[in-house]
Amino acid sequence: MAFFGFAHGVHPPEEKELTSGLPIRRMPYPDEIILPLRQHAGKPATLCVKVGDRVERGDPVGHADGYMSVPIHASAAGTVTAIELWPHPDGSMAQSVHIKVDKYALQMPRPRLVPRWEGLTVEQVVKAVQEAGVVGLGGAAFPTHVKLAPPKDHTVHTLIVNGAECEPYLTSDHRTMVEYPERVHFGCRVMMHTLGVSKAVIGVEKNKPDAIAALERAKPKDLDITILPLTVKYPQGAEKMLIHAVTGVEVPSGKLPVTVGVVVQNVGSLAAIAEVFDTGLPLIERIVTVTGHGLKRPANLIVPVGTKLKDLLAYCDGVTPNAREVINGGPMMGMAVSNLDAPVIKGTTGIVVLTSDEVRGETVYPCIHCGRCLEACPVFLNPSWLGDLARVRRYQDMADEHLSDCMLCGSCSYVCPSNIPLSQLFQASKVALRRIQIAGAA
């Protein structure tokens, strides 16, 4: 293995020691569960319950709407009390199913909602994974079954498993690898079988030696799985950076990883695949790191999907007086939560409570062209120049300067001494550019 890292990148404070040593614990059921029908990339699920219906744990409340969609399942037994627009963790409002949790229910799942894995054909596995509502648990929530069936015109030779977890604070993947390495390997087995590949590489940042050791120990004899220690650097876990670190190949600009013959999946998602085939329950709960210096009792928790952030924070003894910002996801790419009534969804990797000392200052200075953003950008863009273009709204010029290759990792904004919100400018520019392109096509 010649490559273990990538050029450029940044080193934000890791702050993982708050929760990296804490075992995963289960959070009790809240009084109410909120299930948005849009929890994944692709089309939202279509509603299949009505107000007053009784649902058991694992029952679908929404069906998959086509291939690029997955169903949503009830994470606790109870009664549907309302179906209405409700705050979504991404800041918008989304059609959501409210379930009043039955406190006296045993919360027993119906037996085998998901079939056993043994003896299924590839098509049946893909279908079972979709029916189980499994999506990528790394944050983007891309439907997993789509990754299991890559386009026929490409050959896949390697499965790359993303255990980098380069976002500061987050430890849910770390704890999954330490506590459930068998599940990660079992998920690997399922994916390798369906993809028809014989080789898998699990990339883990070197700052998680216990995870690497646990994975090595649990490695099955009959599979070709390599555990590759990666340099500790942000954004090591970005798909293209990880592929470069593992294979030494750059994914061509604007193309999918499958064009270089690899499929990337996150360790949490693999553990989820293993879990749904193991327990027969669809994806109705996930591991969430609830942490931050603004939180009184940080923890790694198994949380029922749909738990309100308010209830989650209250279970962790609430926030400290100097708490200033609640982030859904990691502090580099996560979104600030504007309403704590919003629920945990399938893509919620962590909830980070930042203190007033940590949040960005408000003063912005002019760009002094120091070039730090150029040395930070993992895809070798010129954020300084792009930022100048964004401010005068030359979106077409930005497109020519490869704006589409920006993955909004935030490294440029992180290092900018003038505190220029570069990645915010780029996100807005991407939206503006898409609008222009749609207007041009119409």
Partner: protein, 334 residues
């Protein structure tokens, strides 16, 4: 749960601790040893000249700059650098006027911090060079009583200065160019020669620059490429014609090269942003310095070399853009 004081901002929510004012003030602070060294060689005169130029810069920035512009520390650097680039005997009003011109026409008129194309300190000095060619080329000899003035520093504006009792001597570059006398390298390195306030002790400047580079506030590529370029080209010309061109080491350690390479060719605003661009920029500056010194009419060329290359910065930037991740293969395919 009390959630009233929560805010919502765009990602990333973390920020590196370095800020623009912190970088600027650290650079300004790193000039203190250079100033002390010049005070050691030229006495109180050098302090007075630096005070005057800095006051000119700060007052102009306060007058023409953004609100709170003084806080970012960039005008402070301009003032200190301008003062360091002037002869220690120059009347204070001239130094202050140079500061005014540098900030007003080298910075404010472009739109303030980050917008200017040319180094403001050098713009101020170029103005003084044109306006007062005699005063700016009168080089007092270092040493002597600390409180003895090296010229008529307190002359009234536009009155002819009385520089009768001051011992002057040519700079090592002038000595070589006009009298073919070579100053020993040791004197150049230590700074015991005639010259501008801060253009003397190469060792001190190098040490301060190394500190800044270690802190990450200075991109080492510019000074290294300038020094290498001067060394190689200077030595080459010396090899061709030893009578006309001094050796590479002499060029590196004489005149304003160290101050220019370490502090002026690293001004982030006016030099290329890309690392490759910095190599190109530095290489060209070094070449221009040697060419001006050897073939030009002036003994010294650092100021004009940097100003000329400042003009090429946007071009160099365009030509040295980094190759975007994943585009190499695309080009090959085409």
């Amino acid at each position: 749960m009390n959630a009233t004081n929560l805010i919502v901002t765009a990602s990333p929510h973390l920020k590196d601790r370095d800020t623009t004012p912190r970088i600027m003030w650290t650079v300004a602070a790193s000039l203190v040893p250079v100033i002390l060294a010049s005070a050691f060689f030229f006495g109180v005169s050098s302090i007075l000249v630096i005070l005057a130029s800095t006051a000119g810069c700060l007052l102009t920035e306060r007058w023409l700059g953004r609100k709170d512009a003084l806080r970012d520390g960039s005008a402070m650097i301009t003032g200190l650098l301008l003062g360091l680039s002037l002869p220690p005997g120059i009347p204070m009003w001239m130094a202050a006027l140079g500061g005014f011109f540098g900030i007003a026409f080298g910075k404010a008129i472009w739109g303030g911090l980050g917008q200017n194309g040319f180094n403001p300190a050098l713009i101020g000095r170029a103005f003084l060079q044109t306006a007062f060619p005699v005063a700016i080329t009168t080089w007092p000899t270092p040493g002597g009583d600390f409180f003895a003035l090296k010229g008529d520093l307190f002359a009234f504006p536009f009155m002819s200065p009385q520089i009768t009792h001051v011992v002057t001597s040519a700079t090592p570059l002038g000595l070589f160019k006009f009298e073919q006398k070579l100053t020993p390298i040791v004197d150049l390195v230590l700074g015991t020669t005639g010259g501008s306030v801060g253009e003397t002790s190469a060792v001190v400047i190098l040490l301060c620059g190394a500190y800044l580079a270690w802190k990450g506030y200075l991109n080492w590529r510019s000074p290294v490429s300038i020094i290498l370029s001067v060394l190689v080209l200077g030595q080459f010309l010396h090899f061709i014609n030893p009578a006309r061109a001094a050796g590479g080491l002499f060029h590196v350690f004489s005149g304003g090269l160290m101050l220019g390479a370490v502090y002026m060719a690293t001004d982030m605003v006016t030099v290329p942003t890309t690392n490759r661009g910095r190599w190109v920029f530095g290489g060209c500056v070094g070449a221009l310095v040697v060419v001006i010194r050897v073939y030009g009419g002036l003994p010294e060329g650092v100021m004009y070399a940097i100003l000329i290359m400042n003009a090429f910065t946007p071009l160099i930037n365009r030509a040295t853009q980094p190759t975007v991740f994943g585009t190499v293969k695309l080009k090959e395919a085409k």
